[in-house]
């Protein structure tokens, strides 16, 4: 019964009717089952694995706080940054974390504009990941400025010196780009959360919970007059976030590309950085979701098909990034500029060749296994590859930042960069910050956008009920029990 029911329901969605898409939500879940499945995790005590993960992540967060305190007390000399390599790990980490965030916006905004309905299962958690990754990203340039107590000089605030920020500097563009990105991501996420917070409010058993969720739900009642403005605003936010996300990593790449350092001064940087950002971000989404869907038992909502689609995006963007690596070499040769050629030869054969080939194999080679369908659908393989990709992408930023700087125009100033323990612990600690925020999100907020996922069910289409009888609209009164039968039969 359920298979007949399902195929009948999917045909009106096909539109062009050439083939039937697999269902976006498996297991024949109805509206109520989705509410129950998703909301329940914010209401019950979290599983013991959550507590274990939280213990680890909050310990790492504590390490981060200690490292930052140590840094503020002693100054940036505690890092390995030296004279030619003025931008060490803090900038590597900054670019790494900003890049992670990009997948969230790609999923929530760009896939929304392209009407990719499968995004509804993963957009909430991916957007949360974006916000937390951008928080980690904002941390690094802030502590890298040295005198962190005057960080407000980067903002155009009238001050006693009567001076203004230098608007011609890409570093200042970065301040604007990343903080606008953070703000827009946050409000986009919150707007998406409002209907789901109303669901939590309406399910709340205790007065405190009802007050808290009710406060943030703003009195949402699912009125159609509200949905009308809501959907328009959501569409506009998606349309605004799409060029924004492309601009943010372009501006980050300007930090490098606008300088004259060989290895940085290339026009390929903006698209190459954006592709790399999406690549690493999708890998991070995959790592997180493989764990979260298992712990929370929502494999029917975040299905194997979702993971496979993400694997394909990783394959595409990984190949684009690999293509950019090779293009850089070609252009260095083609430009006939001695310094540019040396910078790239030095990358691949110099003292940092180990980092370069780590990057090449992790980013270009490993994703190529995703050409094989069986590997795209293997959870252990996806999990391992997603971590390898992020290691590779961290090394990409390391290679770009450090290898270009450590041998500049004057051989007498050449040096080798060695990170200190503080560098290492700060990076590890930033993962603690990220994971702690993500675990708090999983604990208290619905990790799947319930309203949106209900909308993509076949039952959400009012015309689904038209041909429920013998195909004649309005012939038989649609029975309310008709569509729950399938759900119970599963």
């Amino acid at each position: 019964m359920s298979t007949v029911h399902e195929s009948a329901s999917l045909t009106p969605h096909g539109g062009d009717g050439h083939h039937e898409d697999p269902p976006l939500v498996t297991g024949n879940l109805g509206f109520h089952e989705i509410t129950q499945l998703v909301s329940y995790h914010t209401e019950k005590r979290p599983p013991s694995t959550w507590y274990m993960a939280f213990a680890v992540s909050s310990t790492l967060l504590f390490v981060l706080l200690v490292m930052i305190a140590y840094l503020f007390w002693n100054g940036v000399g505690v890092w390995g940054n030296n004279n030619p390599v003025g931008w060490g790990w803090p900038i590597v980490n900054f670019v790494f974390w900003v890049g992670i965030g990009h997948a969230g916006t790609l999923i929530s905004a760009i896939l929304y504009l392209f009407r990719q309905k499968w995004r509804t299962a993963i957009n909430r958690s991916a957007e949360a990941m974006t916000i937390f990754a951008v928080i980690c990203a904002l941390l690094f340039p802030t502590i890298h400025v040295g005198r962190v107590w005057v960080i407000y000089w980067t903002l155009p605030i009238p001050n006693q010196m009567e001076m203004w920020p230098q608007f011609k500097s890409p570093l200042l563009w970065d301040v604007f780009a990343v903080s606008v990105y953070f703000t827009v991501s946050l409000i986009f996420w919150y707007v998406g959360l409002v209907p789901d917070l109303a669901t939590l409010r309406d399910r709340a058993r205790t007065a405190l919970r009802r007050r808290l969720t009710g406060f943030f739900a703003l009195g949402w009642t699912g009125a159609n007059r509200h949905w009308r403005n809501y959907e328009k605003a959501y569409l506009l936010l998606a349309a605004l976030a799409t060029p924004l996300v492309l601009s943010v990593h372009s501006v980050v790449s300007f930090d490098f590309a606008v300088s004259i350092v060989p290895g940085w001064h290339t026009t390929i940087f903006p698209p190459y950085f954006v592709a790399g950002a999406i690549f690493s971000g999708f890998a991070m989404v995959m790592t997180l979701l493989i764990i979260a869907r298992k712990i929370y038992g929502i494999e029917n909502i975040i299905t194997m098909d979702h993971l496979e689609k993400m694997a394909i995006i990783i394959l595409v963007t990984g190949t684009m990034v690999g293509f950019a690596y090779i293009t850089e070499f070609f252009i260095a040769w083609y430009s006939q500029v001695e310094y540019e050629q040396y910078a790239f030869l030095n990358r691949s054969t110099g003292p940092y060749a180990w980092a370069y080939w780590t990057m090449m194999s992790c980013n270009l080679l490993f994703p190529q296994f995703f050409w094989i369908k069986r590997l795209r659908r293997s959870i252990p393989f996806l999990f391992v590859t997603s971590i390898i990709v992020n290691i590779g992408m961290w090394f990409e930023r390391f290679v770009i930042t450090v290898t270009s700087l450590h041998r500049d125009f004057l051989p007498s100033s050449w040096d080798y960069f060695n990170p200190t323990l503080v560098d290492v612990l700060t990076l590890i600690g930033s993962f603690g910050l990220f994971m702690t925020l993500f675990l708090i999100f999983l604990r208290f907020l619905p990790m799947v956008a319930m309203a949106e996922i209900k909308m993509v069910l076949p039952e959400a289409d009012p015309h689904y009920y038209d041909d429920h009888g013998d195909g004649h609209a309005g012939h038989a009164a649609p029975s309310p029990t008709g569509q729950t039968e399938g759900a119970e039969g599963a």
Partner: protein, 205 residues
């Protein structure tokens, strides 16, 4: 006169006046989105203006069934974006060419080319803030108290239930006739909602 304009504005947000006898309106529950869409068409055909449907997710085609035009959020966003663009242009020109010009490598004090990133970012920022603020304003949110919260069934509206609400402030509203209309449209249940004020709402539950 002013009161009338205010009431009309509030009605577009779904905020209606209760009657003197505290009756706020009728709340009818329907079985599924198809029935709700059909009911909305019927209620509109009967000439009602102050009514709204409530559902866990937006229903495709409901705007047309209810006779609602295009949302005005777009215009507000446009105004926001234009403000952001103007502000960014003015900010960069005034700070670096008027208030404190500094000669850096002989570059012009102000030029459009290096100003574009910040012009773009502030345009996006102001547009996004305007879109969200405009959406909440047009929806009359936040609205901590809503008489519909008195209905116990209404708590399911954010889960799996579908409601149509006819406000008592509608010119055509009549307890008996409106209820008959809703029943004829296939309502599972019709409930009279009384506006008893905020303080009683939580005392009861």
């Amino acid at each position: 006169m002013l009161k009338k304009i205010l009431q009309d504005a509030k009605a577009t947000m779904g905020i209606y006046e209760g009657r003197d006898d505290r009756i706020y309106g009728l709340l009818a529950e329907f079985s599924d989105p198809g029935m709700l869409l059909h009911a909305a068409q019927e209620v509109r055909k009967a000439g009602y203006k102050h009514f709204d449907t409530h559902s866990p997710f937006p229903i495709h085609g409901m705007d047309r069934a209810m006779g609602l035009g295009n949302s005005k959020v777009g215009y507000i966003t446009l105004i926001g974006g234009a403000t952001g663009l103007a502000l960014a242009t003015w900010l960069q020109w005034w700070t670096s060419a008027v208030d404190y010009p500094i000669n850096i490598s002989g570059k012009p004090f102000f030029a459009f080319e290096p100003s574009i990133p910040i012009m773009f970012e502030l345009t996006v920022l102001f547009s996004a803030l305007a879109a969200v603020a405009g959406m909440f304003a047009l929806n009359g949110l936040p609205r901590p108290y809503n008489p519909l919260f008195y209905s116990r069934r209404f708590a399911h509206v954010t889960d799996d239930a579908f409601f149509l609400h006819i406000a008592a402030s509608d010119k055509q509203f009549d307890l008996k006739q409106s209820e008959a209309l809703l029943r004829k449209a296939g309502a599972l249940d019709v409930e009279v909602i009384e506006d008893r004020g905020y303080s009683e709402l939580h005392a009861e539950t």
